[in-house]
Amino acid sequence: MTSFVQPVGLDEACEAKAAEPDLVPLAGGTDVMVELNFRRARPHGLLDLTRVPELREWSVSDGCWLRLGAGVSYARIIKELGGHAPALATASRTVGSPQIRNRGTVGGNLGTSSPAGDALPPLLATGSTVELVSVRGNRLVRIEDFFTGPKENVLLPDELVAAVWLPVGRGPQQFSKVGPRNAMVIAVAALATALDGESRRVGVGLGALAPRPIRAVEAEDFASWALDWDGGSGIHADVAARFGALVAGACAPIDDVRGSSAYRRHAVAVLAARSLRWAWQEYRKDKSCG
């Protein structure tokens, strides 16, 4: 361990990363510090991003997109973004404990790219876009193209996660997570659902159910087709069950200490049917209220 670099601006951070691509970006430390404490990693140096103001801002442009800086903490998302990003805010509530939510960030969840990262299913369900930055400029990557495997992503050695762009105000969203406790839990299975009343699409994002966080495209297509967007009639039990089965079918879960593959598939089918009903109920209520 040699260097500890503390940039105070995004340009400076990019220059540091370009000069020393081996620097490990550090924000809330909830992943990186565990690796260091257990001596599982010995990075060449650390790039402390907590003093980069650009990463700690969020804004809404044209009422359509929320640009969420990579360094906004989960505690702030819960407090400030429940209206703009309901599924992400709900997911943020399930992250660790108050101490962890005070420090952890969505940028960290993206950087780590754990299949079980709590913030990731909401980003997939809403069709979000990741903004990467380097001295070469910015590039946008669709969230479903960002993850390439367990804890692997498309970030190049000189790049940092700058922000994530989430569509706002499209319709009701849900997030559900299964685990043995109500707190401090790495998801056994997690699912986010987002309804988009304008394009009449249902988005589904899954966590801890495949080698990387994924969408459930067939289930999305089916629900988008099966829901009565005009009439707003209730969901038939067969539709909810079929949706659940398609979501389960999209998964490729593993057996591990947290749960068996069979349990994960079963659990997510139940979560999916339930979430779709909840989201649809909200959609109908909003519709009838005009």
Partner: protein
Amino acid sequence: MRLSCTVNGQRRDIDVCPAESLLFALRERMGLPGTKNACEQGECGSCTVYLDGVAVCACLIAAGQAEGGDVVTVEGLADDEGPHPVQQAFAESGAVQCGFCTPGLIVAVHDVLSHSPRPTDAAIREALAGNLCRCTGYEKIFDAVRSAAVRMSAEGKRR
């Protein structure tokens, strides 16, 4: 590297390794062993301290990240008049068994009550979810939180 920060109101300048945790720096370099080292992965809350007024796990802060910061540990809660009401309440309620989780819980409870002076039981449960007591003495801890809340509102104390 050199770390300069304020700890419990006192300016400290010490040498640290950049990758070591604030927890290590507090305990091993500044002689403040009140903050406990247990899981080193943010699971147990034993190392809860304030950094710039926010409750955090000191084990997950790189020492260098505290540069210029304001750190308050369990040692910094009492004042000249005696223990803080939260500390008093823990002692009087017997909310201590082996005592290992106690410093972290004291800071966490201090934080809860500074945001929410009369929390419901559900809110207490939620707020203390990141602090583990492996003696499982949670009932007495709840008693202490309720009693500290009463004591602090009676004294008109917010922090």
